[in-house]
């Protein structure tokens, strides 16, 4: 497996862990805030460096330079690949923005130590593909909000605990029951695989907040600090669990059933957002609607749909992350915001108003913003599979668009607010919001690199499942014109997959059962294996993109 030039991954995980320990020693809250910003900045620099370094390798996966964890545990615990590469800087950016936009007046309510701890766990989760370790990290990630609810805010944790226990329990049970050969035979899964897969899927759906098991999310937003709740949901670790644990084992029909379930959640949450009067719950529903749309795309199992979903994952993380942070900044000024009345904040906080609108519009895929192309791809992918799903996605996007402007008007307009204290955005808030603006508009006006990268990741993920990367919905003559380049590209991808097989070989050594099963699968390819160059790509070891070695 190719190696990064620096141990970026280890740094990006160890730095926040050390920072969390340091926070426990610092008593001065203001100093703690400044240190936390510095650590988050350094972590983001590492995560970004990791991403850039990985891109320079032109490989599908890579591990750290002088991998310390691999030396300690004798396996590649942390590996970066095309799926996780942009998620790491996104996650670290969200943490940095959150810490940066935390007002001095809120430092006593917001725990920097636990925030850094959760950042380390999240980055480790996104860097991990090994089954049990990933499950352990996902379980560990639920700890930080629980501690805040229980110890710091003395809130009732029952709703959160019940759902998260169920999540962890189902995940562990499902993974424990899963047969070794499950990954090689996704489309011909047996009864045990299906049952185990159903448990894992249910767990991932609970973590993603799929209806009717979404109430923990609204409860968390109501009881926890906005920052903690936002950071717990915005990077979408539930979707990551689906990509790593469910996608390689679930047959297409099961995935598409999950897509329908996600779609129902998406429409329901969009409608609930319109009927909601509390700003936090409103944000929660809005986020739920968008994250469910991402799941819809992920489970369509088509190149365009998956590319769209991966793009929307990033754009929603960025835009709704910014939207949430803007709302958090508003809360810091006026307390909890009710949407049943007008607040008229525009005159006092025009910068926050602009950001609120910009991030909100980006989340619904408004032209010129980062979400536009991703949403188009997602809808196109959905139309390609089931036109009705595509149209429902469009309707959901329309409802979300109405909801965004509804919230904007309620918060910033409708009355003339007279205040005696300044509400203007502070420098740190401005910097945070400006960075988000640049990314949202930059990604929107120059989307090709992002889309290409996500398409590459999508085709690799599909190749690992053995799904044909075919064209859809085009004229036959047009298709013929591009047959040659398409096959050539597929062959190149397949060759690259095999060229990067050092890590694969080590995985095979560690898991003889898996390698034996895959050998037999390769000898008699599944009926769905496609006949161009990519059919060979479906054979490689699960340690390639997305697969989880057991």
């Amino acid at each position: 497996m190719p190696e990064l030039h620096w141990p970026w991954m280890e740094f990006s995980i160890v730095l926040p862990v050390l920072g969390a320990v340091l926070m426990g020693l610092v008593r001065d809250r203001e100093l703690a805030r400044k240190l936390c910003i510095a650590i988050c900045l350094a972590t983001m620099a590492c995560a970004t460096g990791e991403w850039l370094d990985f891109n320079s390798l032109h490989a599908f996966e890579a591990h750290d330079h002088g991998d310390l964890f691999a030396a300690l545990f004798h396996q590649d615990v942390f590996v970066i690949d095309e799926l996780s590469a942009p998620l790491l800087p996104l996650a670290s950016l969200l943490y940095l923005m959150t810490v940066l936009s935390t007002l001095k007046t809120k430092v006593n309510r917001f725990s920097f130590g636990w925030t850094l701890f959760s950042e380390a766990v999240l980055l480790a989760t996104f860097s991990c593909r090994e089954g049990w370790t990933l499950i352990g990290l996902l379980a560990l990630g639920t700890l930080s909000p629980w501690v805040e609810l229980r110890k710091r805010r003395h809130e009732v944790t029952r709703v959160y605990s019940v759902h998260m226990s169920l999540f962890v329990g189902l995940l562990v049970a499902g993974w424990w029951l899963l047969p070794n050969e499950a990954i090689a035979n996704a489309e011909m899964a047996g009864g045990t695989t299906l049952f185990a897969g159903a448990l894992i899927t249910a767990a991932a759906l609970i973590r993603s907040g799929i209806a009717p098991l979404h109430c923990w999310m609204t409860d968390l937003f109501e009881r926890a600090t906005f920052g903690t709740a936002l950071l717990f949901v915005a990077p979408m670790p539930g979707a990551y669990a689906i990509m790593r644990l469910v996608l390689p084992i679930a047959p297409s029909w099961a995935l598409q059933s999950i897509a329908v379930l996600s779609l129902v959640t998406s429409v329901y949450a969009a409608a609930m957002a319109l009927a909601e009067t509390d700003a936090r719950r409103f944000f929660c529903y809005l986020f739920l609607s968008h994250s469910s749309l991402v799941l819809v795309g992920l489970e369509l199992v088509t190149p365009i749909g998956l590319t769209g979903a991966l793009c929307v994952w990033l754009s929603v993380g960025l835009s709704l992350g910014g939207f949430g942070l803007t709302m958090r900044s508003i809360e810091a000024r006026v307390g909890r915001v009710s949407l049943s009345q007008f607040h008229g904040l525009y005159e006092h906080t025009p910068t926050l108003a602009a950001m609120f609108l910009l991030t909100g519009l980006a989340s619904i895929g408004f032209p010129g913003t980062i979400g536009f192309i991703g949403t188009e791809l997602l809808i196109e992918g959905a139309v390609g599979v089931y036109p009705l799903i595509g149209m429902t996605v469009v309707i959901t996007a329309a409802l979300n668009g109405i909801a965004i402007l509804y919230a904007y008007f309620r918060v910033f307009t409708g009355t003339r607010l007279v205040i005696s204290i300044p509400f203007r955005a502070k420098l740190s808030e401005r910097i945070a919001l400006l960075i988000l603006t640049v990314l949202i508009l930059g990604g929107g006006l120059y989307p090709q690199p992002g889309v290409s990268s996500r398409y590459h990741a999508a085709t690799a993920l599909l190749a690992q499942r053995g799904v044909p990367v075919h064209q859809h919905g085009h004229k036959p003559e047009t298709s013929q014109l591009t047959t040659e380049p398409r096959n050539a590209t597929a062959e190149r991808q397949a060759q690259t997959l095999f060229q990067n097989s050092e890590g694969q070989a080590s995985a095979v050594r560690q898991h003889p059962n898996v390698s034996r099963e895959r050998g037999s699968a390769g000898a008699s390819p599944s009926p769905n294996a496609f006949s161009n160059g990519l059919d060979t790509a479906s054979e490689p070891d699960g340690s390639l993109i997305g697969a989880v070695p057991r």
């Binding site: 000024r333 006026v334 010129g368 390609g384 329309a398 409708g414 919905g473 004229k475 047009t478």
Partner: protein
């Protein structure tokens, strides 16, 4: 410089001039840089003038060299070659787009100059010009779009700026509520547009207008898609056009849009935005010829809208609303003309109507003064004679008709009663159920949001 290079340079100048204006005004707003009123007006003036001159130059070159169809390629904005997914940025200068782009520049330029004085020292002066820049860019992109995706891009910009301008006086609730209603209707229209674009892309493999118009220049092109497909795509586009132009059953937003400042009402809802739906139908008019049922649907919608607009405008109690419905009447007639295949007449009608309506709306605040002058001149009140229609309808029917027209066809009430209220009832019930369930899980302890007055603590962050 070759002719193609000249076209390319001028074409880009037409598109980039409003884009640069938006970057300047939007960037300043985001960075918190205060641009003076005078500078704002000058930037706007320069951008509009440059864009207009460029558009006129393109027209001049086209006439001189007898070029009827000048595509300006910006290349693929996004391309996934293997999947044949591309977002193609292409602008087309032809007999339809050039007059409409010039019209947009002329009217926006006029309104820009008018607003410079009209909104002088208003707190929202810069905000107005920012939305104005978004609108102008949207109009220019929509006018010149060579692909359906590009048209959608501009279409959305127009929708957003229109809604925000309706809510321009945002310290009052009514304009804000109206702005939101306009936005909601636009979102429905946009959804129909997007579905149409995707259906077209799905059926034909391209979002290019060439699929709709064949290879011929407008208006001689012939659609190359199947009649059934044409009907599906065409009906979706008809819904989108009806929403954008305020045609029946979406007419409820038209009077609401008049809450905005007069200049924006004049240029956006009276002249340009309201014609964008008709422009869309004109752009895809070869599609109408492919399917007779589609043409009949267009004619029927136009007729109903025209009759409704003509009736409603007669009983409105404020001049801007009356003018809005008068616009609807003309838009309805234009749509009928499009349905009948009278494309040049529709285009000329559209341009003439837009210019006249802008003038009328700009004069609207002085209407009473104009009336008084008129009455002073003739020495009596303006005479009103009963028409043949008045005499042929019974008193009861006239009262009912009056009520129907005064209530604007009860379209808004129907939307409230049959869509919004049931929607809120259903999801309000869901909300209560969810809260009960969460409270039950939490052992009866629900967090009570603290909707307090501003935190004095925030002061601590400021010196």
């Amino acid at each position: 410089m070759t002719l193609d290079a000249a076209f390319s340079f001028l074409g880009m100048a037409v598109v980039f001039s409003p884009a640069i204006l938006l970057v300047v005004l939007g960037g300043a707003a985001l960075l918190g840089i205060g641009i003076s009123e005078r500078s704002t007006a000058r930037f706007t003036h320069a951008a509009v003038t440059f864009g207009l001159l460029s558009a006129l130059s393109v027209l001049g070159l086209m006439l001189t060299y007898d070029r009827r169809h000048v595509p300006i390629e910006f290349g693929n904005w996004v391309l996934i070659e293997e999947q044949h997914f591309h977002f193609h940025l292409k602008f087309v200068f032809d007999r339809l787009s050039v007059p409409f782009a010039i019209l947009s520049f002329v009217l926006c330029g006029t309104i820009g100059s008018f607003t410079k004085v009209y909104l002088h020292r208003e707190p929202g002066y810069r905000r107005f010009f920012l939305f104005y820049a978004v609108f102008l860019l949207g109009m220019v992109v929509s006018s010149l779009a060579g692909t359906i995706e590009t048209l959608f891009f501009g279409w959305e910009l127009v929708g957003l700026s229109s809604a925000l301008l309706v809510a321009f006086f945002h310290e009052r609730q009514v304009p804000v509520r109206n702005g939101h209603r306009v936005w909601s209707v636009y979102r429905v229209a946009d959804a129909a547009f997007l579905i149409a674009a995707l259906t077209l892309h799905h059926l034909t493999g391209a979002g290019d207008f060439d699929g709709l118009m064949g290879s011929g220049a407008w208006p001689e092109g012939t659609a190359t898609i199947d009649a059934n497909y044409a009907l599906i795509v065409g009906l979706l586009l008809l819904v989108a056009a009806a929403g954008k132009s305020g045609m029946v059953p979406f007419s409820g937003w038209l009077p609401r849009a008049m809450e905005g400042p007069t200049p924006s009402s004049a240029v956006f809802y009276g002249a340009l935005s309201v014609h964008l739906g008709a422009y869309l139908l004109l752009r895809v008019s070869p599609l109408l010829e492919t399917s007779l049922p589609l043409s009949l649907a267009v004619i029927a919608l136009g007729l109903v809208s025209a009759v409704f607009g003509a009736a409603a405008t007669r009983v409105q109690t404020d001049v801007k609303t009356a003018l809005a419905f008068a616009s609807l009447t003309q838009v309805g007639i234009i749509v009928v003309e499009i349905g009948c295949g009278l494309r040049y007449i529709a285009l000329i009608h559209m341009i003439g109507h837009a210019l006249m309506r802008t003038l009328q709306l700009l004069r609207a605040p002085s209407l009473l003064q104009d009336y008084h002058r008129l009455e002073d001149a003739i020495g009596q009140n303006l005479p009103r004679q009963a028409t043949a229609l008045d005499r042929s309808i019974s008193e009861n029917d006239r009262r009912w008709l009056f009520r129907f027209c005064l209530e604007r066809g009860f379209l808004d009430s129907m939307l409230d009663n049959f869509v919004i209220h049931p929607f809120l009832l259903v999801f309000g019930w869901c909300r209560r159920m969810e809260l009960s369930w969460t409270r039950f899980l939490a052992g009866g302890k629900s967090p009570l949001p603290d909707y307090t007055t501003p935190h004095a603590a925030v002061l601590e962050d400021h010196p």
